[in-house]
């Protein structure tokens, strides 16, 4: 989702940015986001270690309500007192299915303090697939239900 319009977007460390700093951050993103990565669209979740669950604690940067998978970008850490770093947390499915599971584009908002149980990427990079999220301000718990057709389709099942 777009950041709320009534506040400047946070920079990579979570602080409001000046325009020049924001432009520098954007330039960083564009410079690193070249054409070399595979465009996976629908993809297997086998890159995530489904035998492990770690808890990411931090602040929501953006909730990306997109197809075919929604994404939560979080500035946080999986270490108890770790410095906040940017993590991608992928949801198992799309806004259509998530809506049917009770989610909306407002389920998670930028700035929310959050704890997310996730299956981490096997190679240790800062990505995971969401198992369960808790909004710390309210205690509200968010989970996803099994997606149609994937219940038995291991190892895609999640």
């Amino acid at each position: 989702m777009s950041p709320r319009s009534d506040r400047p977007p946070p920079d990579i460390n979570g602080y409001p940015m000046t325009r020049s700093a924001r432009n520098a951050a954007i330039a960083l993103w564009l410079a690193t986001a070249g054409a070399a990565w595979p465009a996976a669209a629908h993809h297997s979740f086998a890159m995530y270690d489904q035998t492990r669950i770690v808890t990411l604690r931090g602040t929501v940067k953006t909730f990306q309500w997109s197809n075919p998978h929604a994404l939560i970008w979080v500035l946080g850490s999986v270490a108890p007192d770790g410095a906040p770093e940017l993590w991608s947390v992928e949801l198992s499915t799309s806004p259509g299915n998530l809506s049917r599971m009770g989610w909306s584009k407002h389920s998670v908002e930028p700035g929310d303090k959050i704890a997310i149980d996730l299956n981490p990427l096997r190679d240790g990079r800062h990505g995971g697939s969401l198992k369960r999220a808790t909004l710390l301000a309210t205690g509200k718990v968010l989970t996803t239900a099994p997606v149609a057709g994937q219940v038995d389709a291991k190892p895609d099942a999640k």
Binding site: G34, A35, A39, S44, P95, G96, S129, V147, D152, A153
Partner: protein, 278 residues
């Protein structure tokens, strides 16, 4: 004005010549197929068809329970792909927003579907795969002799009582026989699919599919999918682009709202930019 008139006259002359040439020289002109305007009776006839309205939610797809009978070479490839996926290195079969195609349109569908009846045609709309669709002609036509190959192929249907029998050919050889999003073998050409679509209960639709793919299968693959009907508006089909999730909602130096590519790992997992390289 004079120039215009000359141009128009030339166009008329050319048109007349083409018309004469067509009429005189081409027997095809008399058999050129058209889609006739539907009559009131055609529309009324639709009311006699079974009620497939509403939104259909696909049930479990368990290819492991009814796997295809692969050729030895394809079976060896499947074993390798399954091992790669088990090791966390999936070889995704749906990439770059190419249509997922048949038979994935049915067997790998993870979202809801709708089925529309209009005179001479049944249209199946999926939320999955970027809102793609299948057109099934029920006007009695046959397949083209030399169809252009497409992801969902050329489909013709006929009603046998309350069962729609659909015959599909003309599918691109690259379209996969999928066991999952990270395991599949291309059909490699010559695929032929027959579906029998029917209600098995008031709100249960079943597609029984027979997939012939002689390049990679030693016997037809028989696979079925059941769908449950919903009439809740909360389940209405949404717009679903196939790759929006590969992009970040971003802002450029001018303040314009833009999409910026998100780095991914080899398996398709999105990564923060500082994590793009191992």
């Amino acid at each position: 004005m004079i120039a215009l008139n000359r141009t128009r006259a030339a166009a008329l002359a050319l048109g007349a010549a083409l018309t004469l040439g067509w009429a005189a020289g081409s027997a095809q002109a008399q058999t050129l197929a058209v889609n006739p305007a539907p009559t009131a009776a055609d529309w009324s006839a639709l009311a006699k068809l079974p009620d497939w309205s509403g939104v259909w939610i696909p049930g479990q797809y368990a290819p492991a329970k009814s796997p295809p009978s692969w050729t030895p070479d394809a079976a060896a490839q499947v074993a390798e792909l399954q091992a790669e996926e088990a090791a966390g290195r999936p070889r995704n079969i749906y990439v770059n927003c190419l249509p997922e195609g048949m038979p994935s349109f049915v067997v790998m569908n993870l979202n809801t579907s709708e089925i529309l009846f209009t005179p001479g045609r049944v249209t199946i709309l999926n939320e999955f795969d970027g809102n793609r669709l299948r057109r099934i002609y029920t006007d009695g036509r046959g397949h083209p002799e030399d169809p252009d190959l497409t992801f969902n192929g050329h489909s013709i249907g006929r009603w046998e009582g309350d069962t729609l029998v659909v015959d599909t050919i003309g599918i691109v050889p690259q379209s996969y026989l999928p066991l999952g999003q990270g395991v599949g073998i291309p059909n490699n050409g010559g695929m032929h699919i027959v579906e029998r679509i029917h209600l098995t209960a008031p709100d249960t639709l079943r597609i029984d599919m027979v997939v012939e793919a002689p390049k990679v299968l030693v016997a037809p693959w028989r696979i079925s999918r059941e769908y449950k009907r919903s009439r809740e508006r909360a389940r209405d089909i949404l717009e679903a682009s196939c790759r929006q999730g590969d992009f970040l909602e971003d802002v450029d130096a001018h303040g314009n709202a833009i999409f910026s590519p998100i780095p991914h790992d080899d398996g398709g997992a999105p990564l923060p930019p500082d994590q793009a390289r191992k």
